[in-house]
C-alpha cells in the first residue's frame, strides 16, 4: 500500500470513529427517554401489562420487605406524587437501600405490581466512612427522640 493510500485509510478510520461515537451517544440518549417512567407518568400512561419498560424513583423508607427465601423482595418506588409497588428476585446491588434512587427494568403484572428483572441503584455524591455514618445516625435519632419527647 502506498503511504498516501495508507494515510487516506487511516483518516477514514478516524472519521468513522468520530461519527460512530456521535451516533452511539445520540441513540443511547434517545432510547433512554422513550421508555422511562416515574410512578406519576406510569400512572398516567396506561401501559399494558407485559410491555418492557423502565421505572425510576426513590425507594420509600420502610417499604423493603424481604421474603423468607432470602432472594425475593418487594418494595415501593415513589416520586413526589405517587408510588408504585415493585417485586424483585435476586441479589440487590450494594447501594440499594431505603431512601436511595433506583431504576428497575421490567414489566407490569395484571395486578399492577411492577415485576423487575434487573435493579440499578444510584449513588449520591457523598463518600462517608461507615463508623462516621453510624455516629451521625445515632446522633440524628437522639435529637429526634429529644424533640418528640
Amino acid at each position: 500500500m502506498k503511504p498516501k493510500h495508507q494515510r487516506l485509510l487511516l483518516a477514514l478510520i478516524a472519521v468513522v470513529a468520530l461519527v460512530s461515537a456521535g451516533l452511539i451517544a445520540a441513540s443511547a440518549l434517545r432510547e433512554e427517554a422513550s421508555y422511562f417512567y416515574t410512578p406519576t407518568t406510569l400512572a398516567a400512561a396506561n401501559v399494558p401489562p407485559g410491555k418492557a419498560i423502565r421505572l425510576g424513583g426513590m425507594v420509600q423508607k420502610g417499604s423493603i420487605v424481604r421474603a423468607a427465601d432470602g432472594v425475593s423482595i418487594t418494595f415501593i418506588v415513589q416520586d413526589q406524587e405517587r408510588s408504585q409497588k415493585v417485586a424483585y428476585r435476586g441479589i440487590t446491588p450494594d447501594l440499594f437501600v431505603e431512601g436511595s434512587g433506583v431504576v428497575a427494568d421490567g414489566r407490569l403484572r395484571p395486578d399492577r405490581v411492577f415485576v423487575a428483572e434487573s435493579l440499578l441503584a444510584k449513588h449520591d455524591e457523598n463518600y462517608v466512612p461507615k463508623e462516621l455514618a453510624d455516629i451521625d445516625m445515632t446522633a440524628a435519632e437522639n435529637t429526634q427522640n429529644t424533640v418528640s419527647q
Binding site: 495508507q6 494515510r7 487516506l8 485509510l9 487511516l10 483518516a11 478510520i13 478516524a14 472519521v15 470513529a17 468520530l18 460512530s20 461515537a21 456521535g22 452511539i24 451517544a25 443511547a28 440518549l29 432510547e31 433512554e32 422511562f36 425510576g56 440487590t92 446491588p93 450494594d94 447501594l95 440499594f96 437501600v97 436511595s100 431504576v103 434487573s118 435493579l119 440499578l120 441503584a121 444510584k122 449513588h123 449520591d124 455524591e125 457523598n126 463518600y127 462517608v128 466512612p129 461507615k130 463508623e131 462516621l132 455514618a133
Partner: protein, 238 residues
C-alpha cells in the same frame, strides 16, 4: 513561549526532568495505592469497593486532562506554528487513551457490585466512551500524517474540535438524568470524607506526575526520531 521552541533547549530541561517526575510520581502513586487499599475505612453503603475510587478518579482526570492538553497544544501549533507543540500533542495521545480506558474499565468493575450493572448508556459513561473513541481517531490520524506540513494540521484541527466533548463529560451528570452521581468535588468544596480525600489527592498528584514523565519520554522519542530522519536525508543527499 518560544523560549522552549528550540528542541536542544527543551531537551536540556526534559532530560533531568523525566526521571525526577517519574520517580516522584511512582512514589506518590504507590503511597496512595497502599494507603487507599489498606488504610481507608469501609464506606457506609458500598463497603470496601470504595477503594476503587483511588484508581478510577485519577484515570478519569488524566483521560480528560490529556485531551485538554492535546487541544491547547494543537491551538499553539496552529496559531503560533510552535515546532514543539505538535510533538507534545502527539505524545499525549497514547497515555491519554490508556487512562481513559482504565477509567472505563475500573468504572465498569465498580458498577457491577454497587449499581448492579457493568454498563449503562447514561450521559457520563457514554461521553467518556466517546472520548476514548476520539483518542483512537486522533492516534490514527496523527500516525497517518507526516510530522510536518498540512497533514499534521488535520490532526491538530481534530484535536481542537474533539475538545467539545470535554465540557460535555463534565456537565453530563447535570444535563441528563444519569446513573452516575453528580460531582463530589466542586469549587465550593467536597462531599468526600477526609479519610478518602487525602489519599485520593495524593493519587491524583502521583498519577499526574507519571503522566508528565510519560509525555516527556514520548516527546524525546519523537525528537530523536526526527533527528535520525533529518540526518538520514542529509546523508542520502551528500
Amino acid at each position: 513561549m518560544h523560549r522552549f521552541a528550540n528542541p536542544a533547549r527543551f531537551l536540556r530541561i526534559a532530560k533531568p526532568l523525566t526521571p525526577a517526575l517519574f520517580w516522584l510520581g511512582l512514589l506518590l502513586t504507590l503511597i496512595a495505592c497502599i494507603w487507599g487499599l489498606f488504610f481507608t475505612p469501609t464506606e457506609r453503603l458500598m463497603g470496601d469497593t470504595v477503594k476503587i475510587l483511588f484508581v478510577h478518579v485519577p484515570s478519569a482526570w488524566l483521560g480528560m486532562g490529556g485531551w485538554t492538553g492535546i487541544a491547547i497544544a494543537s491551538i499553539v501549533q496552529l496559531v503560533w506554528r510552535h515546532p514543539l507543540a505538535g510533538v507534545a500533542a502527539r505524545a499525549i495521545a497514547v497515555p491519554g487513551a490508556t487512562f481513559a480506558a482504565i477509567c472505563l474499565i475500573t468504572g465498569s468493575i465498580w458498577g457491577r457490585p454497587t449499581w448492579g450493572t457493568w454498563w449503562v448508556w447514561d450521559g457520563r459513561l457514554t461521553s467518556m466512551l466517546v472520548l476514548f473513541f476520539l483518542y483512537l481517531g486522533y492516534i490514527a490520524l496523527s500516525n497517518a500524517s507526516s510530522e510536518k506540513g498540512d497533514t499534521s494540521r488535520v490532526a491538530a484541527v481534530f484535536g481542537v474540535i474533539g475538545a467539545v466533548n470535554i465540557p460535555i463529560i463534565n456537565r453530563s451528570v447535570v444535563w441528563w438524568e444519569s446513573q452516575h452521581q453528580k460531582a463530589s468535588i466542586t469549587l465550593g468544596g467536597s462531599s468526600i470524607d477526609t479519610a478518602y480525600l487525602v489519599p485520593l489527592f495524593i493519587a491524583v498528584v502521583g498519577f499526574s506526575l507519571l503522566f508528565g514523565a510519560l509525555v516527556l519520554m514520548r516527546m524525546r522519542t519523537a525528537l530523536a526520531e526526527m533527528r535520525i530522519e533529518a540526518r538520514m536525508r542529509r546523508m542520502a543527499q551528500g
